[in-house]
């Protein structure tokens, strides 16, 4: 027990000594901190794109909402439902109701081209035809400017993110799509979810405009409670009149965000690893310099009776402390530079643009700090071993 206490006393006194000498080595220490901060900045920056995209997609669905597609379809693009099928779906058990009837919205979905405000290049934007119940089904849609469209008219309401990203979608403007002009009468928000990247109009107006007859692509429903999903699903999948697949909306969007988020995450990790390699050599250099500059001091401490173990730990702690500072600086810089930055990207699973904000989340920052500490640990280990292994008599002679 006494030995252990003695060991900790040695570690703390040596560590305190090392940390107090950092100002004397501020140049190399600063370069190490900046190197690691740069790695963290890039890592967090890139991964915040993925987390922002995922957040926009996942927040779009709640467990109380479900979407019904034709069996075999993995997206609305490839789905198709007739009016009779929609009626059967609307009558299924488990769907919430209000005074107007079941909270179910039969919808269709087309892709239109609009220029991006930032580059002027065309991008795919979702134009969605909705039923009157769509507002109640989503529950989070708020008109923040103008009004809802009038059913039966060529009017659209535009998601706030779409209005910000694409040209020609300001309130009061007309947009020409195909052979028709559509008047923008409202701007809506939806708690930052994927709907905000869309343009909505009356499904019954969109159907003839796109020669869709009386067909839809999906039915969105609000369940009476999340627990009603099983009954709802069972009733649809066992009904011989239907050939459909019901999916919880939260699961649907999570699945639809995987390709993009995984791609961005992979890119981010590869970039970060390459930069980490550079930062690792920086950290190694710093710690080797630190140890080399104090070779005689460390040897003196060992001559006085301090053990090799505490020497190793104290050098590692210093390296970790520098890495922690670098990680925190990089994380804060990433937060200030990227968090909330708005952009849009194509979702390859729906071929439409999704507008979203970069999200520097606490989880992302924690991962980045762990990454920085790993660089610090590896960067400090070899110099620490060198400090502990150099024969004392040899080290005492070094100037």
């Amino acid at each position: 027990m006494n030995g252990l206490i003695n060991w900790f006393v040695q570690v703390t006194s040596l560590t305190a000594f090392n940390l107090r000498t950092i100002p004397e080595r501020r140049g190399s220490a600063l370069s190490s901190v900046i190197g690691i901060a740069g790695v963290v900045l890039v890592l967090v920056g890139v991964l915040s794109v993925a987390s922002g995209f995922r957040r926009a997609m996942v927040s779009s669905g709640s467990p109380s909402e479900a979407i019904v597609l034709r069996s075999g379809s993995d997206s609305e693009m490839t789905s198709g439902l007739g009016r009779d099928e929609v009626r059967v779906i609307e009558d299924a058990p488990g769907i919430a109701r209000d005074a107007s009837g079941p909270l179910a919205s039969a919808e269709l979905f087309v892709i239109i081209n609009l220029p991006k405000r930032s580059t002027g290049t065309d991008a795919n934007v979702s134009l969605r035809g909705i039923s009157p119940a769509a507002y109640a089904v989503r529950g989070n849609v708020r008109i923040v400017a103008g009004r809802r469209f009038t059913p039966g008219r060529n009017e659209v309401i535009v998601g706030a993110a779409a209005a910000g990203q694409f040209a020609g979608l300001d309130l009061g403007q007309d947009i020409r799509i195909g052979q028709n002009d559509w008047h923008v009468v409202g701007i809506f928000t939806a708690n930052g979810d994927v709907s905000e990247s869309e343009i909505w109009t009356d499904a019954s107006v969109l159907q003839p405009a796109y020669h869709r007859g009386d067909t839809f692509q999906s039915v969105y429903v609000r369940l009476a409670s999340p627990g009603d999903f099983k009954a709802f699903k069972d009733s649809l999948t066992t009904n011989p009149q239907l050939n459909v697949t019901p999916v919880r909306l939260s699961d649907f969007y999570a699945e639809h965000s995987t390709v993009v988020t995984e791609f961005i995450q992979r890119i981010g990790v590869v970039i970060a690893l390459l930069m980490a390699l550079g930062a690792l050599f920086g950290a190694l250099n710093t710690m080797y310099s630190a140890v080399a500059a104090r070779t005689r001091e460390i040897a003196t401490l060992r001559a006085l009776g301090f053990g090799s173990g505490p020497v190793i730990v104290s050098v590692l702690v210093e390296s970790l402390a520098l890495a922690l500072v670098g990680g925190v600086v990089g994380g804060v810089a990433a937060y200030l530079a990227f968090n909330g930055h708005k952009t849009s990207t194509i979702n390859w699973q729906t071929f439409s643009q999704v507008a979203f904000s970069f999200a520097v989340t606490p989880g992302l920052l924690a991962r980045a700090i762990v990454f920085a500490m790993t660089i610090g640990l590896v960067g400090g280990l070899f110099p620490a071993l060198r400090a502990a292994r150099t024969p004392i008599a040899t080290a005492l002679r070094e100037v």
Binding site: N2, F17, T21, L304, G305, S308, L396
Partner: protein, 232 residues
């Protein structure tokens, strides 16, 4: 000094060989040496004669290639590195040519360093530090950092650090080698006082015959062997 007592330091048949590539360099050859409690021994000899190597072996900073080293009846050539570190902390005080003080610590903190390896509490450590600094005449400079002290004062701090744990043995490697004559004389006087008044056993490596005169015995080394010895 008491020659009737068994020697405090007993070196027997010690060889020290360094390997440089395929070449073996014999620094010490079959060396025997006794140092009795209370002795002040000066080790002299030309550069490369092996005197610092011998001092390092006696201080447990290095291990002999062959032979035995016994300090206070304990074979230090046989114990593990960890035990050797603990042994050094308990029994040896080192005084270095270039003082080897920690530049970020003031005199008080430098002297306190070896006490961190003991079980003394903060108050007891402070008391020991004050005493050691008083002995070397630097009680009023305790808050000064090394850069604020002269070479002689820094070496006094180094000596205070060496004696603060009341070690069995004081090992000094060229303690006046970096000092002017006046400061060197003061340091030698201090070592002499520690030897005479406090009975400290001191082994000092020096090139300087004037410094060696302060010792009670002088041993000459040449090519790794004792060639002569005489009382000063």
């Amino acid at each position: 000094m008491s020659e009737s007592q068994p020697p405090l330091v007993r070196v027997r048949g010690v060889d020290k060989v360094y390997h440089r590539g395929s070449e073996d360099i014999h620094v010490l050859l079959n060396l025997d040496l006794d140092v009795h409690p209370g002795e002040f021994l000066a080790l002299m000899g030309p550069s490369g004669s092996g005197k610092s190597t011998l001092l390092n072996l006696i201080g447990g900073l290095d291990r002999p290639s062959q032979g035995t080293i016994e300090i206070g009846g304990e074979r230090i050539d046989e114990i593990s590195s960890r035990q050797l570190a603990a042994w050094r902390a308990r029994h040896v005080g080192f005084v270095f040519q270039f003082y080897n003080l920690m530049p970020v610590m003031n005199a008080e903190r430098n002297v306190e360093l070896p006490l961190l390896l003991t079980h003394l509490n903060r108050g007891e450590r402070r008391q020991h530090v004050e005493t050691a600094l008083h002995v070397v005449g630097l009680a009023d400079r305790s808050r000064h950092h090394p850069r604020q002290l002269s070479g002689g004062e820094q070496q006094r701090v180094g000596i205070a650090r060496a004696i603060v744990t009341d070690p069995t043995l004081l090992l000094c490697d060229e303690p006046t080698g970096d000092l002017d004559r006046k400061s060197g004389d003061e340091i030698l006087g201090l070592l002499q006082a520690l030897n005479r008044e406090q009975g400290k056993t001191i082994i000092m490596v020096t090139h300087d015959p004037h410094a060696a005169q302060r010792a009670s015995r002088i041993v000459y080394l040449e090519k790794g062997q004792l060639v002569s010895e005489r009382p000063s």
